[in-house]
């Protein structure tokens, strides 16, 4: 930590020229923002950083150093969510150096100039802090989106009283099939449904692992006293399943979703047009 005595001149400068320096800092940063954040918003955000930098970097206040890291983390997290690039985020911090350097040069204060090198490397460190937090925040955003996609891509819908449907679209991998399996079985219990139709019309290919997962879903549904019908098995997939030697046994499979629904309606004894409790 840079002691107060090593940066006396800079401290004085930052304190006495607060408005000018902060104004210039906001100005430089605002130019890179292309209107995505207003000057007023930036002034509040950077004003807070400015005060913390004075205390932590120049004043050697450890408590302020912690607050500064937290504030920088918060700023880079919100920037990451708003879609700013990491360079833009780090530049927001680096811009302070430019603002300070301009003033130091103008003042021709050689002592302050000498202190600037140390100050500059401290600000660089702070810029890197935003970079790190930015990367972590982006990873979190990606992880959240993946999870949302997983949920989005596997809706369990009610087709009729006592009949649930899961239209599967896109590539099925092990993780997704597992999510489907769990949410389908949960919904069977919640709704008290007797039959579920897994429609794989929109699934381009089925490998051994996915076929096994589908099979397990059907078996688990059976253990719970319900039935699971697989529909939309296209010729290539049927060939794959046979070639893989996966035993689908006595599982009800139907060519189309319509066939499966007809089968399910027949099984539950429901007759279209005579819905109960509708």
């Amino acid at each position: 930590m840079t002691g107060a005595s090593d940066s006396a001149h800079l401290s004085t400068l930052l304190e006495s020229e607060r408005e000018t320096l902060l104004g210039r800092w906001v100005e430089i940063v605002a130019a890179t923002m292309r209107g995505r954040l207003t000057a007023d918003e930036l002034r509040v955000e950077l004003g807070e950083l400015y005060a913390l930098i004075e205390r932590a970097v120049l004043g050697g206040d450890d408590e302020a150093a912690g607050e500064l890291r937290a504030a920088l983390g918060e700023i880079s997290r919100s920037r990451a969510r708003q879609g700013f690039t990491p360079t833009e985020t780090a530049t927001s911090v680096f811009a302070l150096k430019q603002a300070v350097l301009e003033r130091v040069e103008a003042s021709a204060d050689t002592a302050a100039y000498a202190e600037f090198a140390a100050f500059s490397s401290r600000v660089d460190e702070l810029g890197l802090v935003t970079f790190e937090t930015y990367a972590a925040a982006r990873e979190q955003v990606i992880a959240d989106q993946m999870e949302q996609l997983l949920e989005l891509s596997t809706p369990v819908v009610k087709l009729w009283d006592g009949i649930l449907g899961v239209p599967l679209v896109g590539t099925l991998d092990s993780a997704r099939t597992q999510v489907v399996m769990e949410s389908l079985l949960e919904r069977l219990v919640e709704t008290g449904s007797q039959i579920a139709i897994l429609d794989i019309t929109g699934v381009p290919a089925v490998d051994t692992e996915v076929a096994q997962h589908l099979l397990k879903t059907v078996m688990a549904a059976r253990l719970m006293g319900t039935e699971c019908v697989i529909s939309g098995i296209r010729p290539q997939i049927a060939q794959t399943i046979v070639a893989l030697g996966v035993e689908f046994g006595e599982i009800a499979t139907k060519a189309t979703l319509a066939d499966a629904l007809a089968y399910a309606l027949d099984k539950t004894g429901a007759h279209p047009g005579e819905r109960t409790g509708a």
Binding site: D161, G162, M181, E182, L185, E186, L188, V189, G192, S193, Q194, K216, M219, A220, A221, R222, L223, M224, G225, T226, T268, G269, T276, G277
Partner: protein, 128 residues
């Protein structure tokens, strides 16, 4: 050791498992059930496992044993209320409970046995 109570509802014996089963309890239940089926002339057995959070191979095998044993005495067995997580685990473990009939809940299990449902509030006798 706890013993699992067996209730009689009409011609059906109802076993509702509410405790963490240990092997001795499982074996005792098998014996008790056999005796009660003979003594009551019950036509059906329902094992309600809604409250059971794990079924391992020993408990799973008990269901199969009770099912074949009661079938010999002309009573049908239905296991009801298996939780999704339990079902998924049993499948992974490799236990398919062949020969055991299952139903989603007690009501559907009673219906499967053709047993008259006790009159209750609306909803108890809805549907088919």
């Amino acid at each position: 050791m706890d013993r699992v109570p067996i209730l009689k509802i009409g011609e059906v014996l109802l076993v509702s498992i509410q405790v963490d089963l240990q092997d001795q309890t499982v074996l005792a239940l098998q014996e008790d059930l056999a005796e009660r089926i003979v003594a009551t002339g019950a036509r059906g057995v329902i094992i309600d496992i809604t409250a059971v959070d794990i079924v391992d191979s020993f408990i799973g095998r008990m269901f199969a044993t009770i099912a074949s044993m009661s079938r010999l005495m002309d009573a049908e067995t239905v296991v009801v209320g298996m939780r999704p997580a339990v079902a998924i685990t049993l499948v992974e473990l490799g236990l398919s409970l062949g020969g055991v009939r299952t139903a989603l809940d007690l009501e559907k299990g009673m219906r499967l046995l053709g047993a008259p449902l006790p009159a209750a509030g609306p909803g108890a006798l809805d549907g088919r």
